[in-house]
Amino acid sequence: MKNIHVSTTVNGDPTEFICAPDESLLDVLRDRLRLTGSKEGCGSGDCGACSVMVDGRLVCSCLVLGAEAEGAKIETIEGMAKGDDLHPLQQHFIDGAALQCGICTPGILVAAKALLEKNPNPTDTEVRYWLAGNLCRCTGYDKIIKAVQAAAAEMRGA
């Protein structure tokens, strides 16, 4: 099988890569573009550690082919902070101790940002159901939910 040439935008930057026809977007991001912030926890869409945005839609990048990124806008955890300025979610995750090992954190941040863009004022239950596709084994989710709500409150006030 011949590799495919793909032109796309990653975190605002025009980006080209070649990939195998059966290569996942996650593998492209990690192995070809060296954007290793997206993690593979399962490879089957069950854990959410590889969550990215494709054209404004939250997806598990392990379930998307690299070739499908042609012409698309990809956003990953690496694009969430603007230089040294952390996104309020990132800051509240640090301040609220919402991470322990941190492996699920990039995916949860990407997913939580997508939630707050759709719903700036979610209930705890809405946050819990939105993040039900993002597994965390360290925290028991308690501090994650609180950090998302603290960030949401700050963003509403801003």
Partner: protein, 747 residues
């Protein structure tokens, strides 16, 4: 080191909640985990695994795989020697099967190729001829004399008649006259329990990057809880000197005990050696389930006698744990911890370890304790129901306290069980009303906590800032806690300290990050290292002032003359001492090496309210509160985080998680869809109450906190379900079909 050595009781930094030093790296995606590293010329490694639970390997033909373009190395057990010592041989045989495959997923060969596609293709070209053997995966079946023998030659000495050779260990603990104790009881309950094997479920699969040069020097980048241990085992297996293998621990994406041994690391090193190129080897999730180390499954009998006013008169437990395809001693911890929460005159526990055709178990957070204490706390709860007694009052009446001779031997020093129970009793949770189909459960929990071999170096930089070099991978915020203890001791601000985890060649040996030991033992060594540096700093100030070193003391980041007789000198700051150090004797450092003891045992109590849906058998956890003695909570956010995370792992264990084996001995649910760990929408807030009963064995009173919180949820949930449905449950997990079946049997 005694608690009161420096009389330190008021803290400036300990007990605050500063941001963790690795926080920004982890929220921006910059942090480097096991699978995130690359090396020039790197190959991809893949492992071929057995589809059979138990089979003889008649032959392996790798020639077609070797001939495939892009394949750079193929290895089997023939590429390793046969280690002389049993432990190393067992570890190696678990990493790469020799003669027999012992479980579904057991590694039989591995390839290194230019990319994953070629590597996967090569695996398909390896021909393995198996002779399938009978298998056994159930603990009770494996003990029977006619059971298939997993590994010959491992039976315990003095194997009792009527038991199979699969029984490798036997332990007994206790004291007192059992018959007399049971004779005093007004009520005796005797019941048997089972728990399924569960997996630690860390989100980061095992991953490493190995390099081996022609000069015999090796480099290994790996996600592990203990890189010194990895170095030792890999060097033994590869026949290297420890000094020639440098192991660097990556950021670790969860471990919970499961990353305390090796699975793929010796394989990656052997592939690197054979190919002459760096090899990255990463497990996928299915491999993690099939071929890393889940916890034991258990079968337990408990018998407890109680007077009608709630005093336990005698307590007995027999524990049978299967730890997979190699010998395991985990049942010892179960037999020791089963009745640790109680002050008993007559107590006995008996533990048996059994081998089965399952992956070799690895540690999982308080290994061995949750399943033992689940059975005990279930029977205590049933006695409370039968005798109409309050379950917290009964635990308070029988609680272990200072001076109690524990069921496993030692006499307890200052412990926090009683205070924890009192806190639970006083908490509004315990008085909250319950609705229909709802139940409340509680359980005590216990863990020993470890100390162990530890090295720490503190370096004073010329600008007065401080570097701490420690050797334990940070699995829950420990770099923050270590920096806090250094800053506290030195009297400087937290942001002046940076703590790093060194590789194996940069610092002396450190035991694995396990046993809840790091904040205790590394913290203790950090405080001692800082005190050594303070001594040097005082001596340097004394030299500048031209007074006796004894006439200088340290306070809040300054060297000060000890009184008017010492001389009227302005206090000298750590910055001034650091800047002048080239002229007063050279760089300043402190270090400490210790095999720490005095870890201080830990107790917790969990309270849960839940509702069982009688239509579906599904359980919803409504309210959960964790009470635990932390000794001294260095960074309370991360203490709470341990309490919450442990509780939720225990909730998963109680309600859903299990290894399911088919009749063919194959694991049927090796994925996160079918092995269901708790998700955010399954859970309520997890409330926490930290008690602080200082540990006499640590200068600040710190106890380990990480493991105890997984112990109580199993019984707390089971007791709540049992009270809710009016039927005593005795098998975990209590997944909806099982509860439904129990409800139907009740009619």
């Amino acid at each position: 080191m005694a608690l009161d050595e420096n009389g330190k009781r008021t803290f400036n930094i300990i007990g605050t909640r500063p941001p963790r030093p690795d926080g920004i790296d982890k929220v921006t995606g910059r942090a480097m985990y096991g699978a995130d590293a690359t090396a020039p010329g790197m190959l991809t490694g893949h492992i071929l695994r057995s589809p059979h639970a138990h089979a003889k390997i008649k032959s392996i033909d790798t020639s077609a795989a070797e001939a495939l373009s892009g394949v750079k190395a193929v290895i089997t057990s023939a590429d390793f020697g046969v280690p002389e010592d049993d432990y190393t041989r067992d570890v190696q045989d678990n990493c790469m099967a020799r003669e027999k495959v012992l479980y579904d997923g057991h590694a039989v060969a591995a390839v290194a190729a230019i990319n994953a596609g070629v590597a996967k293709q090569a695996l398909k070209l390896i021909k393995v001829e198996y002779e399938i053997l009978p298998h056994v995966t159930d603990v009770d079946a494996a003990m029977k004399p006619d059971a298939p023998i997993v590994l010959a030659g491992y039976a315990m000495d003095g194997l009792p008649k009527g038991m199979s050779e699969n029984v490798t260990h036997h332990f007994e603990f206790g004291h007192g006259d059992m018959d007399a104790g049971f004779a005093k009881a007004d009520k005796i309950v005797e019941r048997s329990f089972t728990t399924a094997a569960t997996h630690q479920g860390y989100i980061e699969p095992h991953a490493c990057l190995a390099t081996m040069g022609g000069d015999g020097k090796g480099e290994l980048w790996v996600c592990t809880q203990g890189h010194y241990h990895v170095r030792g085992v890999c060097a033994d297996i590869l026949g290297m000197d420890a000094s020639q293998l440098r192991v660097t621990a990556s950021e670790i994406g969860g471990g919970f005990g499961g990353k305390t041994t090796v699975f793929i690391e010796p394989v990656a090193l052997a592939l690197a050696r054979k190919s002459g190129r760096p090899v990255k080897l990463v497990m996928n999730r299915e491999e993690v389930f099939r071929a890393s180390g889940p916890t034991v499954s258990s079968s337990t009998d408990v018998k407890i006698g109680m007077t009608k006013d709630g005093r336990i008169t005698a307590a007995h437990a027999t524990l049978r744990y299967q730890g997979g395809a190699f010998p395991s001693g985990t049942v010892q911890f179960g037999a020791q911890s089963a009745f640790a929460a109680y002050d008993l005159d007559a107590v006995q526990t008996i533990g048996w370890n059994v081998m089965t055709n399952r992956p070799k178990e690895a540690a999982y957070r308080a290994p061995g304790a949750p399943m033992a204490i689940y059975a005990v706390e279930s029977v205590v709860d049933e006695l409370c129901q039968e005798l109409g007694l309050d379950p917290l009052d009964v635990r308070l009446k029988n609680a272990a306290r200072k001076g109690t001779k524990s069921a496993y031997g030692p006499t307890f020093d200052d412990i926090g069980l009683e205070a924890t129970l009192e806190a639970a009793k006083a908490h509004p949770h315990y008085a909250a009303p319950l609705g229909p189909n709802q139940g409340r459960g509680l359980s005590c929990g216990f863990w020993f906590n470890f100390g162990g071999n530890t090295c720490v170096t503190m370096n004073l930089n010329f600008d007065g800032t401080v570097g701490i070099t420690e050797g334990n991978p940070d699995i829950g915020g420990s770099r923050a806690s270590i920096s806090m203890m250094a800053a506290e001791e030195l009297g400087i601000s937290y942001d002046k300290v940076r703590t790093i985890v060194a590789d194996t060649n940069s610092l002396g040996h450190n035991d694995i990050t396990d046993g809840s030991r790091v904040t205790f033992a590394v913290g203790l060594a950090t405080i001692k290292a800082a005190r050594e540096a303070i001594k040097v700093m005082c001596a340097r100030a004394a030299k500048i002032w031209d007074i006796d070193a004894d006439a200088v003391y340290w306070e809040d980041g300054f060297a000060k003359p000890s009184g008017p007789n010492a001389g009227a000198f302005e206090p000298m700051s750590i910055e001034e001492i650091a800047a002048s150090s080239p002229n007063t004797g050279g760089p300043i450092a402190g270090h400490h090496e210790v095999n720490a003891d005095g870890a201080g045992v830990s107790f917790g109590v969990h309270l849960v309210d839940l509702e069982v849906d009688p239509e579906t058998g599904a359980t919803t956890v409504l309210r959960y509160t964790v009470f635990q003695d932390a000794g001294k909570a260095v960074h309370p956010d991360y203490v709470e985080g341990q309490m919450q995370g442990g509780a939720v792992q225990g909730i998963g264990w109680a309600l859903n998680e299990e290894y399911i084996y088919g009749q063919d001995g194959r694991l049927q649910n090796p994925g996160l869809l079918d092995y269901r760990i708790p998700v955010a929408s399954d859970l309520p807030d997890i409330d926490t109450v930290i008690l602080e009963i200082p540990n006499p064995g640590h200068p600040y009173g710190v106890r380990g906190v990480g493991e105890t919180p997984i112990v109580p949820p199993l019984a707390a949930i089971s007791n709540a379900v049992s009270r809710s449905i009016g039927l005593r449950m005795s098998a975990l997990p209590m997944s909806p079909p099982k509860i439904l079946k129990a409800l139907k049997s009740k009619g």
